[in-house]
Structures are given as C-alpha cells and as structure tokens.
Amino acid sequence: MTELRLKVEDVRVRFGGTLALDGVDLAVYPGEVLALIGENGAGKSTLMKVLSGAVRPQTGTMLLDGKPYAPQNPKEARASGVAMIYQELALAPSLTVRENIFLGMEPTKNFLLDKKQMTARATTALLELGQNVDLDRKVNTLSISDQQLVEIARASAASARVLILDEPTSSITSKDVEKLFTLIRKLKEQGQAVIYISHFLEELKEIADRFVVLRDGKSVASGMMKDVSKDDIVAKMIGRSLESLYPRSEHKAGDTILNVDNLTGFTKLKNASFTLRRGEVMGIFGLVGSGRTELLRAIFGLDQVQSGELKVALYQGKFSPAQRWQQGIGMVSEDRKGEGLLVSLSIAQNLVLPVGLKETAHFLDPAKVTATTKRWIESLAIRCQAPEQKIGDLSGGNQQKVALARLLNNGVDVLLLDEPTRGIDVGSKRQIYELIDKLALESKAVLIISSYLPELLGTCDRIAVMSKGKLSRAKDVADVNEHDVMTEAIEVDAEVTK
C-alpha cells in the first residue's frame, strides 16, 4: 500500500480528573474512508478535537504524510490540511457560497479581495466534486445537504489532505445521504483521506473501507469493514454482549399515570397523544429537531402548550415545573450542562434544589442535606470526594447520576428522561439502565427519549417514534424492528427543518 496519510499513536488526553483519551492508535491512507466507531462518550469527539487542533494531547505522536503533526490551534490544523466538518455546520449563514468557501483565507490582490480568483477556485472545487451551486446564493437559502457540500468544497479549496466528517448524515434525508456518498467517493478518487464518524452502522458498511472502534478512550479494535459483521462491531463498541448491557426484568404495567391527548405546542409539537402506565418504561425515538424534547418540555411545563389535553395522575391541565415536582414528576434534561445541572454548585446543592413533596420548608439544615446527599452518593455509586464537591468536577456519568438522584430524592412517580445516557461511559450507562429497570419494578413510570435506538430496544417496554413533530403510536418492543423505526424517523418526510 501507499504511504500513510495520517498516523496517530498512543494519544492520551486528560481533562481534570478524567482520562478522555487513554491510548488511541489510528492510521488512514490516502484515498480511503476510515470509519471511526464508538458510543457517545467513547472519546470520539475528543479525538476529533485533537486532530483539529482544538485540544492538545498530553502524550502520543501524530504524523501527517510522515512529518510530525502537532497543531497548536484549529487554524494551524486547517493550514496543515486537516479539515473538520462538524455535525453543526460552521458556515456564516448570511454570507454567499463563494464567501463561505474562502472564509478566513480569502485570496487578496492589492489589499482587496480577489473576486476573480475566488470565483475560479470555487468553481473548480465544486466541479471536481461534480457539483454546481450558484456562488452568489446566500448559504441560509440552501438545503442542509447543499450546505454540507459548501463545507466540503471549502475543505477542497483549502487543499485539505484529511477530511473528518462528524455524523454527517444525522440531519439529512436518505436521498441526500446518497448524494453525500457520491461526494465522498469523489474525494477518495482525488486521493483524500476521509475519517467518517457515525453510529449508523449500515452507512459505515456502505461507505467505509476500514474501521477503528473506540471504547472508554481507547482504540480497542480495527480492521477491514468488509470482514466484520454488524454484531461484531456492536459487541466491540460496548465491550460486552447486548444482553448484559441492558438488564431487563418482566415489568407489570399498572394504572395509567400520564395521559397526553392531542398535545400541540407553539414550535414543533403537533397533536401528540400517548399514555404511560405505572411500572412501565416507554421510549420515544427521534432525531435531533424532531420535536421530542419539545414534547417533554411541554409535559413538564417548561414550554407553552397551544392546545390539547394533559393529565398526570389526578392533575388535569397545565402546570409550572415547580408544581410538576410537587405532583411527583421529575425531568432530566438532554442538555446536562446548559439546563440539567448547575455545574458551579455542589452535588448537595444540586440534589436538594427542586421544591418537591418533602422539602417545602424555608430553612435548610446543612447537616441533613449532607446526610441525604451521602445516602444518594452511596446508593447510586456516584464517584466523588464529598457532597460539597462541585458538579463540574465529576465525570459525565456521575453528573448524570446526580441528575437522576435529584428525581429519586423527590420521590417522583413519573420520570421524564431526555437522552439520559448521552455522553457518558459504558459503565455508568449500565448502572443507569439497571436503575431504570428497578424503578419500573417499583411501579414508577419512566419515559425515555433517545436518538440511540439500541438503548431503547434494550430498556423499553413500548416504543413510539417522533418525526417532524408527529408522534407515532407506541408499539410493544417485541413488535418493533430496528429498520422500520429508522425508516419512520428519517424517511417519512423530507428534510428536518432547522
């Protein structure tokens, strides 16, 4: 084979108390697509940050075309020819296609922008990709997939040698996925090295030549894509078989405790209806932007409801989050740092913050608060030094356990969990799945929202699909087939509007 394009050896990154990368090896050749596979929290995003110069590793070596590669910042990485295309595209929406392609590296002539050269180079870059886009169009008038194209053209125009794509298909339709794959094949022909990150294994099977699996910050497996089965990859990703990751007991569904009828919100949510019973775990599968979070927020009183009925236990109507806590409902936000937890405050402060059933007093007894916190730290095996420790110092998994402990401490009957295992390690995931199972056995009702289907299939009794603000009828998990759910979530309608 030809010379290696990019070689990464034994890269380690430590953030405070946690090892985000604990020895990663990876190699990619020119003209090939390398699939980077791993669960959320496995270290994919940290590795990308290392490659794109946003994070500097403590140890390890990287070689680009045989020469040492140690970018001090993203600009240096781009200049060396490593281009990164994030899930959230980094385009200036109100500028034109041409301006975006040369953003930050505009060619100049006599201190003025060299429009002629820009047009010529942009056209060439697009032509080489076999595409034609009006250079004068503003980027915010393009579809998501054309915006992606602009980003790729930008990388080509900057003569990128390594292109890293992060979950490029998570917000585009299947037709556009084909278009993207054609583009990637063109890039291969041009001799570019492509690192493709995704957890849609089907896609990886189709486009990637080789793969590397990350788990808990280590590269644990690599090989040719055509030589492995999907099941093998999944087993390598989670480090154990599926059954042991998702403990599941027989749940006995009791009385209906949550009844949502034709709920419509002001933004995305349209006529959602479902019921949730005690002792049941229900899952809602949906992609980012499908309206799933809005559904939860509407139930919890965080978002306004336009029309529809909502009944929780005996309480009919709309209530504030404070009232919801008092009614025995608790919510875990998908945005752990932005909305879920108060990272600059202590574990204890986070735990006792909700004004729940037991805690209506105006005075707090610090000794009692500490004792309560210690009890939850112990029972959920939260790894920390003391109840006074700041949430920000904990790992993602332990942070999430505090978020869950907050619900349990308030003795809630209904748990609304939005992406409860996003960005946390496999060990903590398993503990959270076990906890959810246990709560169902204690006849609590659990509603989980996730964009990671295996997790829902592994933990839920019933699953519904959310797509473009519409919620499908929930089906028994036994009758659910992975392929159908995906199709329903992605292919029902055209693009997910941003």
């Binding site: 405070g16 989050p321 936000s333 913050l353």
Partner: protein, 332 residues
Amino acid sequence: MTEASKEKEMKQTIDPKLMATLNKLTPLFALIVVFIIFSLMAPQSFTSIRNLELIIRQTTIVGITALGMTLVIISGGIDLSVGSIVALVTVAIAWLLDHGTSPLLAAGGALLVGSLCGLLNGTLITRLKLVPFIITLGTLLIFRGLAKGAAGEQKIDAPLSWLNELLAALKPDHVWMIVPPGVWVLIVLALLVTLILNYTRFGLHTFAVGANEHAARLCGVPVEQTKLAIYTLSGLFAGVAGLMQFARLTVGDPTVAAGLELDAIAAVVIGGGSLAGGEGSVLGTMIGALIMTVIRSGCTQMGLSNWVQEMVTGVIIIGAVVLDRLRHRRAS
C-alpha cells in the same frame, strides 16, 4: 483508568471542603498583607485604636451596600442604582425630619424608600426581561434625578437628632458599646445575610439563579420571585446605608454617594464574588470592603494623594480577579 492512576488522581486533588475554605481565606490574606504593608510604611498613628475605629466606621456605608450587592451578584445580576438610592434616602430623611417627623419614623421612611426603589428595579428586570445592567443604569439616573428634584438641587438641612449618633465616634459614657451603633447594624446584617445564604431555601435559590437560570427553572425555582426579592433587599440595604450616610452628613444631600455602587461591586469582587453569578460570600465581601478602606486610610496617613489611592485600589481589584481566575483554572 487503572486503580493505581485512580488513586493518584484522588491524592492530586485537595479535599473540596478544604479547598473551599482556602478560597474564602485568600481575601483575608490579602487584607492582612495590605494592613502589614501600611503598618510598616505609614506613621504610627495608622495602627492606633482611634484609626482602626475610624477604618471600621468608614467601611460601614459601603459594607452595608455591598451586602445587598453580594446577593445581587451571586444571583448573576448587578445593581448600579444603589449610590443614587443612598442619595435619595438622605434627602427623604432630611425632608421628613424637617417636617417634624420623629427620628424613628424618618428612619423607617428611609428603609421604605430604599425598598421601594429596589422593588422597582426588580419589577422592571423581571417584567421587561432586560439585563439588570441596563435597567439599573437607567434607574441610577432616575433615582439621582428624583433626589435632586425633591431637594430642589441643594442640600436639605435637618434638625439634629439621635440618628446622627449612629456613626459618630463613641462618647466616653458609651464606650461599653465598643463600636458605634451603625457598625453593630452592619455586623448584625452581615450575620443575617450569611444565615440567609447558607441556611435558607431562598439562599440556595439565589445561588441557583446565578449559577444556571435554566437549570434553576427546570428544578421549579421561582426565578422571577427570587430576583424580585433580591433587588428589593438590595434596595433595602441601600436604604440602611442611606440612613448611615445621613447620620454622617447630618443633611440630605442629593449629590452624595456617587460611585458608591462601584465600591460595593469592587468589595464583592475582591471578596471572591463572580460577576458571572453563582459565587460570592458575605465574609469575602466584608473583607473586600475593609481592604479598600484600609488602603484609603493608609494612603491618607502617609500623606499620599487621592489619585494614588485610586490607582492602588484599581490594581487590587484587577489583581483579585486575576488571582480568582488562576484559582479556578487550577481547580478545573
């Protein structure tokens, strides 16, 4: 992570309780250092009991104002109007006394005027959903203008009463009080705010709103009510500070206390408060206020001009925040 590296991890980081205490003590060290420097450089009179008492008395007004500011800053806000409230309050007291109101009632009136000003701030901030900086910048001008208008743009004389004793040097037969009553007011209020912040749900809510308003809302914290209460308290404390200001001046002066809000903010920040919210302590703020008075007094004793004091205080403020930043970076 291997077991060995995990253990190493635990040893590397200091116990969080200890760390928190150390963080709180940093301003105290700064105070001691500043004090020692001036004891060495300034004349003997700097360390005399008389001067120490003066320092404490001079800290009272900014100290009381800074108590309210501590609450405001912990909640992630700012209150620029407190200096103007103090001026308005001195005018109100003088007017009341001049119109034959009893000193006690006049004092009550002072607190009422302060609270109402704070309530207006809180109402505007929560209703108009504008940042506190803009609202209180506006009310800074409004309250100041109101004070000047009410006073007819001049000082209002008031008959002497026991109110003027609040912050005066103690008379020989009152030595048993150790410090003047106004200083006791500051001490009691400081203890009260400490209790509120650490032992009440309202205190926890104040921290929560400042640390992350969205998360606070998710947890059912009544964010708007909490803010309303915080700004009202800030106004109330400014009212008390106005009472003390009047005690010192013996007249109502609509131009007094310009820039007091900045001293109060500086005290909170030197004491470890973060303008981003979620952090701050009463002890820190009190030390911060003391540091500034000590510098002022020391410079005066050394015969240094006003501009030197101002520059030194400026350096201390920036230095305190830089130190704080460094501490945080190491912690994370």
